[in-house]
Amino acid sequence: MKHFFLALSLLLASFSGIFGEEKSLRIVTLNGTVTEIVFALGKGNLVVGNDTSSLYPPEATKLPKIGYQRALSTEGILSLKPNLVLGLEYAGPPEVIDQLKSAGLQVIIFPGLPSLEQTLQNILSIGKEIGAEEKAKKLTQEIRKQANRVTEKVSRLKSKPKVLFVYHRGTNLAQVSGTETPADEMIRLSGGVNAVTGFKGFKPISPEAVISSQPDVILIPSRGLEGLGGISGVLALPGLKETPAGKNARVISIDDLVLLGFGPRLGQGMEELYNSLHAPNSGKKP
C-alpha cells in the first residue's frame, strides 16, 4: 500500500512537472513574425513581451515592448523574467544576444529568409520549442495547401503582369523593391513579375526609371498607402502617370504584415495578392 501511494505520488509529481513546465514558460519574442507564429500556435498567453515590430494580433500590441529588434536592451528583456527568447537573425546588437545567453536564458534565433519553405520550417521549429508541435504541423499543412492552390493557378497563367512594389517611409521618400526582398518573393509566388530587377533591396529610383520599367500594377502595403494619402497620392508619384499601371489606375494595397511578414498568414497573403493581380478589373480606383 505504502509503495502504491509512493508510486502514485511520483506519477502525480511527474504530471505536475510536465504541466508546471508548460505553465512556467515565459516567452519574449524579438520579431513581429515570430510573435505572430507563437500566437497562431495558441501560445500567446505565454508571451510576456515583444518588440515594436510585433503589431499582430491586437493582443500582442498590449504587451510590454522591449524596443526594436535591432536595438535591444539586455536588462529590458531580463526585467520581464523570460526563460525563452525567440527571434529572427536580425535581432541585435550581438552583444545583447550574448549577454542574454550568459544570463542563462534559452535564446533561439531562426533564419529570416523570406521563402515559403523557411516560413514552414520556422513554424515547425517554434512549435517544437513551445510545446505546440501538433498545432504547428496543422498550421504548416494549411499554409502549404493555400500556397499549392495559388502555385497551381500561377502555373496555368499565360501572361504575368509586371508589378512595381512601392515602399513608402516618411513623407518624401518612396522606394521601390528590387530583387531579393520579401516583396519580390511575394510577387513571384503570386504570379507576377517584378518590374524592377536592376538592383537588390529597396532603393529610390528616378521618374525615368519608373517609366521605363512599365509596370502594369502598383503594389503598396496599406500603411504606405495611408502615408501617401490614398490612391491619388500614389499616382502622383513622379513618373507613375506615364506607365500602364498609372494610366489604368491599377493600385493594389495589402496589409503590411500579411504581404511581407512571411508568417502564419503567408498563404492568405499569396491568395489575396493572386486574386488582386489576376481578377478582372482588379485594383483600386482613385
Partner: protein
Amino acid sequence: MSISTKERKAQGTSLNMQVGEVSVRKNQRIASSYVFIGLGILIICVGILSLRLGSVSISFSEICKLIFLGEDSLSSLEVPHSLLVWDLRLPRFLLSLLIGAELACAGVCIQGLFRNPLVEPGFIGVGPGAALSAAVWIVCSEKIFSFLPPELRGKESYFLQAFAFGGALLVSFFLHLVSRREGGGFSLVLVLTGIAVNATVISLLGFLSYLADDTQLRNLTFWSLGSIAGATWHKVTLLSVVLTFVALSFPWLSRGLDVLALGEAEAFYSGFKIKRIRNITIILSSLLVGSSISISGNIAFAGLIVPHILRMLLGPSHKTLLPASILGGGLLVSCADLAARTIVFPSELPIGIIAAGLGGPFFLSLILKAKRKEGEFR
C-alpha cells in the same frame, strides 16, 4: 625726498597687486577644487544609480558585498547579481564615463587649438572622417572582404573600430599636411579644410547609404545615433588605454595650449614650437574622437558643451580644464546613458538624442546666466 616717497608708493602698489594676485589665485584654486570634488561626488552618485537600477533593483549593501567581498545572492530572476553588476552594468557605466571623458577632452583640445570656445571635434572633420570609415567598413566588408570568416565582417568585427580610428587619423594627417604648407593664418585654413572635409564626408555617407542594403542601412542609422548597449570589458580596456596615454601628455599639452591662447605671435616669441604643439594636439584629439566614435557611434554635443561649461566655472587655464573635462564629459554621458536605458524601460533610447536633450537646455541656461552677469561671454 619726493622721489623716495614716489618709490615707496610704487613699491606699496606693486606689493598690493602681488598680494591681490596671490589671493585671486588662491580663490581660483579653492573654486577649482570645489568643482573637482563636486564632479567626483556626482559621478559616484550616478555610478551607484547605474549599478542599482535596471531589470532588478540591487541594494547598495548588496553592490558593496559583490564588489568588495565577491559575495553573491541569486536574484528573483535566477540571474546572479554578479552577472548583472559585473557583466552588464559596471562595464556600461565605465564605458559611458570613458566615452564622455574622451569626447570632452578632445573638445577642450580643439577649442584651445582654435582659441574659440564654440568649435568641436566634429568641426575639423576628424569625427566625420571616423564615421565615414566605419560606414565604408559596414557597407563594403561583406563584398570586398567576403573571404574573411563571418565574425570578422560587418558591424560586429573589431575591424570597424580599426577603420574608424584609421579614418580619424587619415583626416588628421591630411590636416597636418595642410598645416605644414601654411605659414600664418593656420587656424582659418584648418577650419576651411575641416568644412570641406565635412561636406565631402556627408556626400560620401549619402552615397554609401544608397549602396547599402536594408540591414546595412539600419546598422548605419543606429550606429550614427549612438549607443552604449554593447558595452564589454574589452571596449572599456581599449578606451582606458587610449585615455591614459593622452592623460600622460596633459602637463605638456596644458602648457602648450595655454601658450597658444596668448596668440600665435606671442607663443612664437615665448620660444614654443607652435607647429609641434598644434600637430600633437590634432593627433591626440583624433585619437580620442576616433576611438570613442568607433565604439559608441555618434554622441554629439559632449565635446562642445562640457569644455564650455567648465571654462565658465574654472576659467581658461588648460591645467585645470583638461583633467576637469574628463570628469565633466564622463558625468554628462553617464547621466545620458542612465536616462537612455531607464526612461522608456524595457526599451532603450539612442544615447545621442539624450545627450543633446540634456546638454542643450543646460548649455543655453548657462549662457543666458553668464550674459546677464557679465554682459558678454568670457
